[in-house]
Amino acid sequence: MGVQKVPVYCYQCVAGPDLLNVVVEDGVATTVEPNFAFAAEHPAGGRICVKAYGLVQKLYNPHRLTTPMRRTNPKKGKDEDPGWVPISWDEALDMLAAKLNAIRAAGLLDEHGYPRLAVTFGSAGIPVAYMGTLPAFLAAWGPVDQDIGSGQGVKCYHSEHLYGEYWHRAFTVAPDTPRCRLVISFGHNGDASGGVAGVWRHAEARARGLRWVQVEPHQSVTAATASEWVPIRPKTDAAVLFAMLHVVLHELPWQEVCDVPFLRHFTNAPYLVGPHGYYLRHGSSRRPLVWDPRQGQAVPFDTPGIEPALEGEFRVRGVEEGPDGHCWAHHAARCRPALALLREHVRDYTPEWAAEIADVPAATIRRLATEYVETAAVGETIDIEGTRLPYRPVAILLGKTVCNGWGGYECCWARTVLAALVGALEVPGSILGTTVRLNRPAVNRLESVRPGSDGFMAQPLNPTDRERWQARPRSRNAYQTLVPLVANSPWSPALGPAHLPWLFLEEPPEAWPPPTLPEVWIIYRTNPVISNWESDRLLRQLPRFPFIAAFAYTVDETNWFADLLLPESTDLESLQLYRIGGTKYIEQYWRYTGFALRQPVVPPRGDTRDLTDIATELAVRTGLLAAYNAAINRGAPLGVPLQSPLYDLRLDLERPYRAEEIWDRICRAATLSLTQGREEKDLAWFKAHGAFLVPFPERQWYLHPVMAASGLRYELPYQERLRRVGKELRARLHERGIRWWDAQLAEYQALPHWKDFPDLWAQVARRYGKDPNDYPLWLLTSRSMQYAWGSNVSLPLMAEVARHVQGHFGVMLHPQTAAAAGIREGDEVVLEAPHGAQARGKALLRQGVRPDVVVVLQQFGHWATPFAKELDMPTLNQLAIMDLTLTDATGSSADLVRVRVRRA
């Protein structure tokens, strides 16, 4: 047989996919290497990261489940052995189909209106690159609850996802690294979690002189490579960002350092705001008004040829539109441009004020703000593929814990306003959005830009008016009811307050339909018992679930509670075509776009099955084959329909197809649609070549040209619409007697104020009857490249190389902190949170950790997963307190908790 190199993609982390070859020697996969055939097209020279080298061990892991298993012990619990017995696929699929058919017979929704079938996928969308045609099965099924969380929100860039997409179609935000000169990163750990594209580009940029300032409580991998590390108290980032706004707008000559034309014509800075906090509008057309100094009067914002005022106070006739159609008509209202209100808003947020809160010297804040505006190169332009665009080489990045949970809105807002002030938004050198998940089409964020009201982009907010608001939640985290910003795309359920189902099962809220359990819960590539916060709550609830079917790689802590384990063929054993290139998560923006194949490099181990074949079997057994095939024909698995004016590759609705045949058609349809019918590549071609790419214009990295062409503005700095939406949501909830979301409603501010965010965690300690001062340390977590998103904790190879990275596997704390507690390097220590939960680990003394902080990496704490359970690694998730008061308006929290530490 000799040596073969089989091309596949890796999408073990959201910063992919990347392309590799698997080396197969005499039928055995032995190693992997970058697919250098794409070195020129791939942004990181075709390379793959450390995780991809674990794929061979993942394939041959002897702890894998290689046959379906059925539980024999009806009692479920952490200390109850499930009593797994192997069964055939026929038995397994019959068993699941019987449960599913019972649901179809009883009705897809239960008596409270919740779907009886629920599914949960983990890892930020990664499963979609591995689950074959399962999405087509779910599409054929009807209402499915995807709301039961596995840690999202608290483990993601949640506020950035929601507000970023709202303001500039930026579900994820990246710097235009190839052109940027200054990055100020608040905890954004891109050199550990930004994938090969991020790491490669950052390294290139450093070598040419990019300055990177890393502001964070402990020195992450990214701080290590940065030009400067600025330690900061956890959850105080908004204070520093507000103070930077203060410096720019009060201490520097703002008219000189800011991009005034950009503010006038691309933002709402000139919009006049009336006494009730809403735009003052033209009486009949209801267009927001601006002040035209030349005419000395207010005119609609889109009046041609004007240079509207950004300062001053005017008396103007007009109308304010409040919530629920409430209007105020003014004859001579006192009103001011939004920018003037912004300046007033940040007047008291001085660097000295922020220094007290954040423990960052005022001089540092001044220096960073000044450097930021000086490097922004306001006024400069650059040629991109023949188009002149503004050039603004500065970016502020936000990391996890900073841009989720309370304070996330304030940080995202201040960062994006700082970008807007100097015009460093969606132009070469600045911050860019790289993907959309709430808007459509998901494959091209530029095409999602459509004119909406008041000169801004149209936004797909969940309605809050009396007629259309979803009063009765249709799924268990109620995202359409509670979170207008999260919209209602296929991704929205997972971005809703996904921990609420867990919380509500234990503490049902008032005036709310009783929380019910799904009759069948299907889980894939997720382990919520490990990845959710306050995992103990899950241990209490999981035994109550009537039926859990888990696609399973090994036994793990969540499928320990399952009734049925379905071992699917994994990364290197199954077949799938996936999108690659264009602009995707984090720093995956390419000069090419297309499709890549994942294919079996060796026959599947044991009796594992390709998920596409499993989905087809389930469709047959539930009588959904025609609907399932129709969903594939519509493009459910990849977004490419099998029929267009150029081709007709549709499946016959009535007969089942094997995975190879389905994906062959998808390969052909994908290439035909990408090339407007010029090229057709079938599965055999993809198996030989791995990927098909066409050029992707660099101009499309930037939103600015589209905004300019459609005459649209960014809805910054003033959040008039969100203010109105917040008032409406309050009214709707109160009308139904719901008061438990009131704290969240306070987030809807047109210009957000600083709140004492760290104190929220102290309050939680008090609610548990504890003195917060007895828990003086912040426990934080940080991603590592070896493990981030990887579903690879059971691989000894990964643990072995990870041991070279500081922080694997132990508890990092400052020597001073350790000494005060009598702790020496290597001692076993106990971390304890105010609600009593504890975790243990070995002390690792580090200077690069603030003395009030303790850090553990990634997510561990396994007790069932083979090998991982031997790692003896503490985890934040056992200690983080899942609590409604720690939930922000977008439905997320931040992954940190106050703790105390002692020697074991």
């Binding site: 055995v28 892991n61 390294a203």
Partner: protein, 211 residues
């Protein structure tokens, strides 16, 4: 004759250990053996602290202390500068392991498997000849020696050490130090570099860019 060497850009390295793991797979190294790995270290005291990454491997010394101590002649330096061990001659005495100031030599006495028992790739690539003898970074000389005609080491992946071709920060450059046109020579001319423990007179062929 070439003199093979490496230039590693410390401004680029992120300590990700991709090179570490790629080397392990390429050479089918047993658990706990690393022909190369990357040190992750702290310098200074809070808050003036720096975290630094330092890739470590055999330096392919011009004056290798590991060679003269070898009683059997197994430890050798090739004319192209590569220091290697002929495992058909090595008796595993370990003198070289002690002599190497960079801790770049490894003696494995018994077979080790990641899961107790060998997995199929471990079984297929079993190398009993490597037990009880000294092993070390070879600059991937099997690749250099089998380079396809016209392939330039340091430029063509098939003829270049895997750590260099796998590095995701483009930090590791390989080539002929004696060829002024090679990328490594050009980097040495244009950047500030250091070598480790130079004072020992080992004349390492691995340089580190520091500015």
């Amino acid at each position: 004759m070439a003199r093979w060497g490496m230039v590693i850009d410390l401004r680029r390295c992120v300590g990700c250990q991709t090179c570490t793991v790629a080397c392990k797979l390429e050479h089918n190294l047993p658990p706990q053996t690393f022909w190369r790995y990357v040190i992750d270290a702290e310098l200074g005291a809070y808050p003036e602290v720096e975290r630094r990454f330092l890739p470590m491997q055999c330096m392919h010394c011009g004056e290798p202390p590991c060679v003269p101590v070898c009683p059997t002649g197994a430890s050798q330096k090739r004319p192209d500068g590569i220091v290697w061990v002929d495992d058909t001659v090595c008796v595993g005495c370990g003198y070289c392991v002690v002599a190497c100031p960079y801790r770049a030599r490894h003696l494995v006495l018994e077979e080790r498997w990641y899961f107790g028992q060998p997995t199929p790739p471990e079984q297929a690539r079993r190398q009993p000849a490597r037990l009880g003898v000294c092993t070390k970074c070879t600059f991937c000389m099997q690749r250099l020696d089998a380079a396809p005609p016209g392939a330039v080491p340091g430029r063509d992946p098939a003829a270049t050490p895997v750590c260099a071709t796998s590095c995701i920060a483009n930090a590791i450059h390989f080539g002929d130090l004696d060829d002024p046109q090679s990328s490594v020579s050009q980097l040495l001319r244009t950047h500030k570099t250091v070598r480790l423990l130079e004072a020992l007179g080992t004349d390492p062929a691995v340089y580190y860019i520091v500015g």
